[in-house]
């Protein structure tokens, strides 16, 4: 267990080093936040007072909390494991005396943790000063949010891992990774809230783990009355994805051939 703790800490340390990158990311997140808030509020104004249960304040909260989670929850292409399969470095990971997937997960949780406060606090502050945000009044609200965020970041990590593990069967996964990023962004609720989707898409999406990866922690932060149920769904999906990843790795590593020494 101590090994995983050390891995979490090392992931945290490694990814908290990029200060200039952080400032650049905040600037861009901020600009995109304004664009997205602008579009959602324009839509709500054009439609009347609410869309999909969102009024202007709720839409603004959704945008700024969401922008603040972009660092912690991996929504852009993550290709490290596929790269390690390609280069053969995965052999080293498989030989370590720890649970193979667990070591990657631990490092990624550390990375995610390093991005929460420096990305979330400035974004929520910008939102509060401009288009407005509604945050939980009671401390339990934040506690639930942290749990939901940890689950969401883990779910997104495992989703990327599944696509990466395809590299054990096909040689080039870049196309699949790009494709997956598009699907993830839309279905997870990064681009527009899931409740705004047309019915067919919303119902189909609710049967997938995607909303649990991004929409879920945002809903919890907005003090959704269904918070407990949301977190339960996230935990269930996490168990499923861990199982699938483990099966894929075990099956795939039987086919794996690493040349050289």
């Amino acid at each position: 267990m101590r090994a995983y703790g050390e891995l979490v800490v090392s992931g945290f340390r490694r990814y908290s080093r990029y200060r200039a990158g952080l400032v650049a990311a905040l600037f861009t997140n901020c600009l995109f936040g304004f664009i997205r808030a602008s579009l959602l509020i324009a839509t709500i104004t054009a439609a009347g007072t609410t869309v999909g249960g969102y009024d202007a304040l709720r839409a603004s909260t959704y945008v700024w909390v969401g922008q603040g989670l972009l660092g912690a929850i991996p929504l852009w292409v993550v290709g490290e494991v596929a790269e390690r399969v390609k280069t053969g470095d995965i052999a080293v990971d498989l030989l370590r005396p720890v649970w193979t997937i667990g070591q990657w997960w631990a490092v990624d949780l550390g990375r995610a943790a390093s991005q929460v406060l420096p990305r979330l606090v400035p974004m929520v502050a910008v939102g509060a000063l401009t288009t407005g945000v509604a945050l939980p009044r009671r401390p339990e609200g934040y506690l639930l949010f942290v749990v939901s965020l940890a689950l969401a970041a883990s779910l997104a990590f495992f989703a990327w891992l599944l696509v990466n593990l395809l590299a054990l069967w096909v040689t080039e996964v870049r196309g699949y990774l790009n494709l997956f990023m598009m699907v993830l962004g839309l279905l997870a609720g990064l681009i527009v809230p899931v409740s705004w989707f047309p019915d067919w898409l919303r119902v189909a999406d609710s049967w997938t783990p995607f909303p649990s990866m991004f929409q879920a922690p945002v809903e919890v932060m907005m003090s959704s009355p269904a918070s407990a149920q949301i977190i339960g769904t996230q935990a269930a999906w996490l168990a499923v994805l861990i199982g699938v990843a483990q099966v894929m790795l075990v099956r795939g590593s039987r086919r794996l051939v690493v040349n050289g020494g």
Partner: protein
């Protein structure tokens, strides 16, 4: 004697054929394109994923307009003209210049020094080094959306409108291309600044693909006078469709794409030069 003659002929032939910029471009580009075409399966997946990327971009607009029939003064068909025009211009600019904002990888790996030592322009080498044909998927989607939306929206095809519909994508390619170059220049100063460059390129693309009147006035001002991507698609589309423009924008601005693009290239090329001069190799 004959032998020496043969050698000197070769030397003369080589001397007589200085490698011009054009010949260089053709050679470099030809090699890259042939290389990509040889991995058929991977290329097909790439092409499909680019097409899907555009589809997802469009899905956002579709979902918004599904909830409100008119946003920023435009319905779905009219917003489709903006989206198609923007996607076509961005797709083409991305195809040619899209790799410029990844120059940080070359800097990190110490590979930039090699390119700088070669007797041809760095810009030309970067542009030809990684022209990704798969990006045609995006441009193709944009062109299709542009043509279909124009046909459905019922544009009055006066000669002026025909000229505008043709020239607008050219201005867009120039503007987005200059933004990619600006974003690349930034990396010479702040190596980890790629994300800030994205505000210019991808942020610019995002703004250009939606009805501009839906944006808050400060944003509209920023993306008109600082990063002029509202001029790429929204203004020409609104003029083609005969729709009114919001504050800060006037109908003659629909024709500004090409001139603004040219001016922007002039400014950004100066910045690019200064950035290369600023660069210090690690001595690798």
């Amino acid at each position: 004697m004959a032998r020496a003659g043969w050698w000197s002929t070769v030397a003369e032939t080589l001397d007589a054929r200085p490698v011009t910029g054009w010949a260089m471009t053709r050679t470099l580009l030809g090699a890259r394109l042939r290389a990509q075409a040889s991995f058929r399966g991977s290329f097909a997946v790439d092409l499909v994923s680019q097409f899907a990327a555009s589809l997802v971009d469009f899905a956002e607009l579709y979902v918004l307009l599904h909830n409100a029939p008119v946003i920023g003064g435009m319905n779905l068909t009219q917003a489709g003209v903006v989206f198609g025009l923007s996607t076509l211009a961005f797709g083409l600019a991305d195809l040619v210049f899209g790799q410029l904002d990844r120059v940080d990888r070359l800097i990190r790996a110490g590979q930039l020094d090699t390119l700088l030592l070669r007797p041809t322009s760095l810009l030309l080498q970067l542009v030809t080094a990684d022209v990704q044909l798969r990006r045609l998927g995006r441009a193709g989607f944009g062109l299709a959306a542009y043509l279909v939306a124009l046909a459905w929206a019922g544009v009055t095809w006066t000669p002026a409108n025909v000229a505008l519909a043709v020239i607008a994508p050219v201005g867009g390619v120039l503007i987005f291309g200059a933004l990619f170059l600006a974003s690349g220049s930034l990396l010479f100063w702040v190596l980890d600044g790629g994300q800030a460059g994205n505000a210019l390129t991808y942020g610019g693309r995002y703004v250009s693909s939606v009805p501009g009147a839906a944006l808050a006035a400060p944003l509209r001002a920023f993306y008109t006078f600082v990063v002029p991507t509202i001029l790429v698609a929204y203004v020409p589309a609104a003029v083609l469709l005969g729709l009114p423009l919001p504050a800060l924008l006037w109908p003659p601005m629909a024709w500004l794409g090409v001139p603004v693009g040219v001016v922007l290239w002039g400014v950004v090329l100066l910045i690019w030069r200064a950035s290369i001069r600023h660069y210090t190799g690690a001595g690798g």
